[in-house]
């Protein structure tokens, strides 16, 4: 389907400031940063997790470990979908038991991805806490899930799509809203 860009919501400057603010919120709330681990949800969540980890190291001098989570095997829309999902590797090289887990995703929409991610994390161990960071909260929740850290809250219509682009993977930092062509 053809798509067209409806609006550019954030540029690299805004994105940078949002990252700085979120990082400060995380360090303020988590007194013991040595107990913090970050788990990014594939694909964009991983790059956001890396950026956060770098900023924590820059501000506080503490290196926070990062894990990668693929939630394909925990999806609830699995048998309804026509297309099969590619399973990618989950790579969490540390124990999460008794840790403060910071779960990171790019866009929070229905909340179903986060439900799957939490189920997956709990199968891997028993964390002390799970906190949720999303870069964009676009609303339309279908489950009782609320993020702890938000880059930007963005009211959207259901048919629109939100893309978070990051320079590590998409060559530039920006957040855009996309509308499927032929719709108003």
């Amino acid at each position: 389907m053809e798509e067209k860009i409806k609006a550019k919501i954030m540029d690299s400057g805004k994105i940078k400031r949002a990252f700085n603010r979120i990082t400060n919120e995380i360090t303020e709330r988590n007194r013991d940063l040595n107990n913090l681990v970050i788990i990014g949800i594939r694909t964009r969540g991983v790059f956001i997790a890396k950026r956060i980890s770098q900023l924590i190291e820059k501000f506080e001098g503490i290196e926070v470990p990062i894990g990668i989570l693929d939630i394909t095997l925990y999806r609830d829309d699995f048998s309804e979908r026509k297309e099969k999902h590619i399973v990618k590797q989950t790579k969490i090289d540390f124990s999460i038991t008794d840790k403060d887990v910071l779960l990171v995703d790019d866009v929070l929409f229905t909340g179903r991805t986060i439900r799957a991610a939490m189920d997956s994390i709990i199968d891997l161990g028993r964390p002390k806490t799970i906190q949720l960071l999303v870069f964009i909260d676009r609303g339309h929740r279908e489950l009782p899930i609320k993020p702890d850290y938000i880059g930007k809250s963005l009211p959207t219509s259901r048919r629109e799509k939100v893309r978070v682009k990051l320079k590590d993977i998409d060559k530039k930092d920006e957040v855009i809203i996309i509308e499927p062509a032929g719709m108003k």
Partner: protein, 312 residues
Amino acid sequence: MVFKQKHLLGIQPLSTSEIITILDTAESLIEISSREVKKVPILRGKTIINLFYEPSTRTRSSFELAAKRLSADISNFSNQSSSVVKGETLKDTILNLEAMNTDAIIIRHAFAGSPYFISTFCSSHIINAGDGAHEHPTQALLDAFTIKQRKKKFSGLKIVIAGDILHSRVARSNILLFKKLGAEVVLVGPPPLLPPYFSKLGAKIDYNLDRAIKGADVIIMLRIQLERQDKSFFPSLREYRKLYSLTRKRFQKAKKDAIIMHPGPINRDVEISTDLADSTESVILQQVENGVAVRMAVLYLLLGGKEHEIAD
């Protein structure tokens, strides 16, 4: 993502990209088996039947664990304990099992082509776990996965398969698979166990193990099927051992980083010497470990999602 098969009847019907999809998926799934909770919910509610008309420990339990680690329900049937002994036909057995709403049937049968036969009237996914001397696709896939782990790529590799090629479904599936992935395959064995028509599958044929092994990257030793030796395919076990057993001395002619594989069960000091079977060059137990991941990948790709309906 490329995977459009409804069944896994053999390596032959698979495209190279479908094979790569299976291997990549297995790569992602292997980590689950080393978790503390070795289970993910993706195939929850799916019913799988393990139907084994021939004895097996490795393959049957490997499929069983693969299904369980994906949260599917699996039931085991073997011919000794089922109504087969009362004279029920294969078709009737399958129709009866399917009447219990199965999603997949994994079958091992002494007759080549039986999985295909079942697939013509059965709506479940059919997985071939070995049919006569025809194919054993998941064994070939786990062999390929193990080779990929060690060697990274297939082009330029020299893979020697030695032993009883004639009766080996593993050899047939392996030849087809390695050729699709671009490796060179050399078959070795005594002439009565290695008919010349195997060259039609794209493999080279050699009757001299010492010569064939030179420069090999991978050596796959096949089991001498002692239970089939009543037809005397070679004069004596002692002679076979002398000419075709993999010993340390023979192995030294292969490449320095060559690996030794065997689909099991091994006859120690018949086709392979005990010290080699237990050596660091042997990846026989890694094959078994990888088997679970590869079978998980196959079950996931066949049973998860509905892509085959588009292909239909």
